[in-house]
């Protein structure tokens, strides 16, 4: 176990980026409108979420002070998660699902 | 030493956290069983007596009920349904009683059910119990009437 040394400016910068990403998602998604996302938008949405999660891990949780193995491990984990979610989301576009909807 | 006591605290705290959630969910399920998935009105004394007979004859150590038990003899959670009780309740109950009374079959090479020497009222209670069990909302289980 080890302790991390962070500085305030860095934390504030991380916070600003996270807030910026959240606001951007909110505006781009026009939060209160009921629109279907095209595959590209879904990919962007999940990508941004993964990125935010990675930022929280690296900056707030101090993962970037750990070994590079751990850093890649968590990156891979998040990528696997978001890609699987995306794949499951896009599965609807497969012809199997193009049966007549009720 | 530091990290170990922290490890211990995380273990205690985390376990307590999950225990509280678990108890909360069971409390919710308790209410659900009472009000939604089982029928309190038909759960009369005869059904409860039937359940006690089911227990003291250790039926569960051959049969299963709602899938739990000994896998040696058929599932009885839906035996009432299997005997056609949805259309003819009395017929199904009579058939269950007749089956009980015909045991053991004594057929060579066939699994044997003991003769439990139940009286007529006891048979009635047991059949009522099995009828009540078949009305539990089990999320659609079992997949076929074979149990």
């Amino acid at each position: 176990m080890k302790h991390t040394r962070t500085n305030r400016a860095g934390l504030l910068r991380t916070w600003a980026i996270l807030m910026g990403l959240s606001l951007a998602t909110m505006l781009a998604g026009r939060v209160n409108e009921n629109l279907s996302l095209a595959p590209l938008w879904a990919m962007a949405l999940l990508g941004v979420a993964g990125l935010k999660a990675r930022l929280i891990l690296g900056r707030f949780l101090g993962l970037r002070h750990a070994s590079s193995d751990w850093n890649s491990a968590f990156t891979i984990l998040l990528v696997i998660l978001q890609v699987s979610l995306l794949a499951a989301f896009l599965a609807l576009y497969l012809p199997v699902f193009h049966s007549p909807t009720p | 030493m530091q990290t170990k006591s922290a490890a211990r605290n995380i273990f205690y705290g985390g376990s307590l956290f999950f225990l509280v959630i678990f108890i909360g969910l069971t409390a919710n399920s308790h209410k659900y069983i009472r009000n939604t998935s089982t029928n309190a009105e038909t759960l009369n004394e005869s059904v409860v007596r039937g359940k006690r007979i089911w227990e003291r004859k250790a039926c569960i150590n051959c049969h299963t009920i709602l899938g739990e038990g000994a896998y040696y003899a058929p599932e009885l959670g839906n035996v009432f349904v299997r005997y056609g009780g949805k259309d003819d309740a009395q017929g199904a109950k009579d058939a269950i009683k007749a089956w009980m009374q015909a045991q053991p079959s004594g057929i060579e090479g066939r699994r044997q059910m003991p003769d439990f020497k139940l009286t007529d009222p006891e048979l009635e209670d047991l059949a009522n119990f099995l009828e009540w069990v078949s009305t539990i909302d089990t999320q659609g289980w079992p997949p076929t009437d074979a149990g």
Binding site: M19, F60, H65, L81, L85, L92 | -
Partner: protein
Amino acid sequence: MQGHKNAESWGPLSSLPGNPMIWILILSELMVFGVGLMGFVIARDIDPVGFAKSQDSLNRLAGAINTMVLITSGLFAALAVEARARDNVQTSRWWLLAAGSFGVIFLIIKAFEYRDKILHNSAGLNENFLTLYFLLTGFHAAHVVMGLVILFIVGWKNNLENIETGTAFWHMVDLIWVLLFPVIYLLR
């Protein structure tokens, strides 16, 4: 005893900041919520129309605001560690209080959302959706409550390791929400 096994040796986990147990927890939680979210998206594949309709009945704005509440709360938690690392105990306590207060705000918004959902508009919605919505966000909210308790404890037993470990839990709750929110509220 042979070898020089130092007391801090957790094997590969040693190089992680904060208590290694918290990282085991973070990994497990990522798995639990990851599997839960997968279940959600797959259940959506079965009834996309019902899911879209159900999702439209959620208050997306409340969810988005809550994202920012938690992110800000995370900043405060991180500042608490930073203050404590400079041996500034009192400041770190203030930051923890700030982080906790934002956690409470999160829960209040959540409570309004739940009340809305339970009282008014659950009829005719996809049952899988509702179950998963309540399970995933409810389980997350339970973590927020737990996090508040932890923040209180580490504010009280105020040392650097405790604060690092306690805020790590808090960040994890934040992290989970960041992954949860878009999938449940936005993906459609």
